[in-house]
Symmetry: C2
Subunit: 398 residues, 2 copies
């Protein structure tokens, strides 16, 4: 897609070819409002139901539980509001402190004074035992547990299925942000969580689209009130082209990509070994935790991360300082702080997040670029002038 | 776009060619997350700011007031929530009773017990004098006035600019749903309203995208909380491709379409004259009100409107019973009830809404089809079997 090796897939991925094709086909043939009564509209309605059924099949959930949204931010707010409506006023919400900012904002504003932080182990993981302990020690009854599947900044995986089962046994609602998991790892088990949500652009669908899975019994759930679209679960004209593109990219990943996980993990591990050798003092965050095959988050030995981003950009690599949505923000990352990374170290953190198209060679090129930048940067330390050769001679309109 | 003459543009319009091209170009060149720090991302950020500036120019408002949303439903809820936050608890909201269901739902739930219905004249219009009277007679101080620009079911136009000026003089917030106006009539004056919102798919942009104009002083407005996107006004990854498509379709309409309004109005008037002659007993709703050039809403002399939709569909015309979002809903339309249409008549209402591509001949064909269906339907009255020839021989995948 881009001539620049792109290592910021956790921020967003380019539209995949299958998603683009599905979207264009839908815009030609199925652009009608599915709420209308003539046959062209009825066909869109049927096709939208088809997407819902296929998505239900991908996660082993009944299609009635699937609600199309504008993305994970909308979903997290709608779920928080619903839980506030149905949970007793005395209920607490136990939440993973390394959730995405939109989830912390949604539950933080909706359950102000009623959040109970779950404890992380040294790798940033919430174990079943830690959950049990936290539920026992909580200062009140816990009505819902909120734990993401995979962290956007570090790639650390949570044992969400175990936690979901634990919550089910105790009759506690389990809420799981699956945004960084879908399209990267198999998603067949998400039907066993009560509430799940994700944003399509993270796996090659369009931006502005996503889905949520509502709890079985939450038949009165709604995100936006408006018309009677989606059985009243979400007002607003349904976007069949986006739903169709979201499914196409997701199904393609499930069909032909997610099985390559261990190979891709090995490439990332190789990269981390290389930089450990090339760049003395570099530290991988969550090094011994189960992590996404695509994500490597590291503390560099020197220099502000924004400087690294600029230098690597000039060298032809698109990388990130952390989560993209926090990139413009002052202050240290709550995720890294929860993992024991000091504010001083946080300013030196770089996140590399690959895609399925990323090659092993690109990972190795990135390691070498880090070495080059690091060496030249040391050589010129104090002079302020760091000049490195550009790897992307053919820049221009893309 | 479709071989079937399509008269349901108020439900949704097909993607225009300029919007499709803009979207595809953006997906190729500017799909990066505008919050990221490398140059490709910075370019997307600049281009997104460019869209915001162009949109501000189209409505004569400062670009800082423009917020990208997922559509009018999200916008109406966010504006209602903001006003609830900033208005004194004693404030009432004076609202047009013929607003779109999403607006009534947003303000109805947010300002429960604090809504004051504005009076309509016999044509469904809220005059400046009626607004003055209502503000004087309201049982408490009015903090906000909510009046749409053009009605989705009837096409009736409100004197929204006059109402906005009146509200400005009195220091009352004026909220205007511009969804059915944008792309059909010139939009240069919307900057003079405090709050405006619209959905892009109504004028040939993509579904799942829209914009709102926030009040000048509402610097702390937010729709979804999440990251720091859009200066904190709306969390969630910005969708540059959709914003770019939305602007392309809108600017194209402003540049080369909206000036043809009076010609198109004449075509619609001609259609209404034809059916008055062809179908005895037919009644045009809001006949003497200023209406959109594209919308004709009529009470047919006999038969449930769903039967009409089916028969006209077989004859090759896509039409609606009213608003698409209410089409699956039981119960009479609140809009038609407010206009004095009886529940009995409401069941016979058909809405025809054209697009810029709709030809005068298609309007005339539609009039003739109504005549044919009406006559055959009368001839076979009581038998239940109404067979009419299909005009659309070449149906198939579209």
């Amino acid at each position: 897609m881009s001539p620049v090796p792109y290592f910021d897939h956790n921020a967003t991925s380019p539209l995949t070819t299958v998603a683009r094709d599905a979207w264009l086909r839908a815009q030609e043939q199925a652009w009608h409002n599915p709420a209308s009564l003539y046959r062209d509209a009825a066909r869109v309605r049927l096709r939208l139901d088809g997407v819902r059924e296929s998505m239900g099949a991908l996660i082993n959930a009944s299609p009635e539980r699937v609600v199309f949204t504008s993305g994970a931010t909308e979903a997290s707010h709608a779920i928080a509001h619903h839980l506030k409506r149905v949970l007793p006023e005395s209920s607490l919400v136990a939440i993973n402190p390394t959730e995405h900012p939109c989830v912390l904002a949604a539950f933080g504003t909706t359950f102000a004074g009623r959040l109970h932080a779950l404890p992380l182990d040294e790798h940033g993981v919430i174990t079943s035992e830690a959950l049990d302990g936290a539920l026992t020690r909580a200062p009140g009854p816990v009505g819902a547990v909120v734990v993401m599947a995979a962290n956007n900044e570090t790639g650390v995986l949570q044992p969400w299925l175990k936690l979901a089962e634990r919550c089910r046994q105790r009759g506690i609602s389990f809420v799981c942000d699956a945004t960084q998991w879908i399209g990267k790892l198999p998603s067949a088990d998400f039907g066993r969580a009560d509430w799940v949500f994700a944003s399509a652009h993270k796996w090659g669908g369009t931006k502005g689209a996503g889905w949520l899975l509502r709890a079985e019994q939450a038949t009165d759930f709604h995100s936006q009130l408006g018309g009677e679209q989606q059985r009243g679960h979400r007002g607003g004209t349904e976007d069949f082209p986006a739903a169709s593109a979201m499914l196409a990219a997701w199904a393609d990943a499930e069909r032909s990509k997610v099985f390559w996980e261990s190979e891709r993990s090995a490439w990332k591990d190789g990269f981390e070994r290389e930089i450990a050798a090339y760049v003395p003092g570099v530290k991988v965050i969550g090094a011994r935790a189960d992590r996404l095959w695509n994500t490597s988050s590291v503390v560099m030995p020197a220099h502000e991360n924004t400087r690294w981003v600029t230098l690597l950009d000039k060298a032809g690599f698109a990388v990130s300082t952390g989560s993209a949505c926090a990139a413009g923000k002052e202050g240290p990352s709550h995720v890294l702080a929860a993992l024991g990374v000091s504010p001083h170290e946080t300013r030196r953190v770089l996140r590399f997040s690959a895609g399925w198209e990323t090659t092993q060679e690109e990972w190795m090129d990135l390691a070498r670029a880090l070495k080059t930048v690091s060496e030249r940067s040391q050589a010129t330390a104090g002079s302020g002038a760091v000049v490195i050769p550009s790897h992307s001679a053919e820049e221009g309109p893309r």
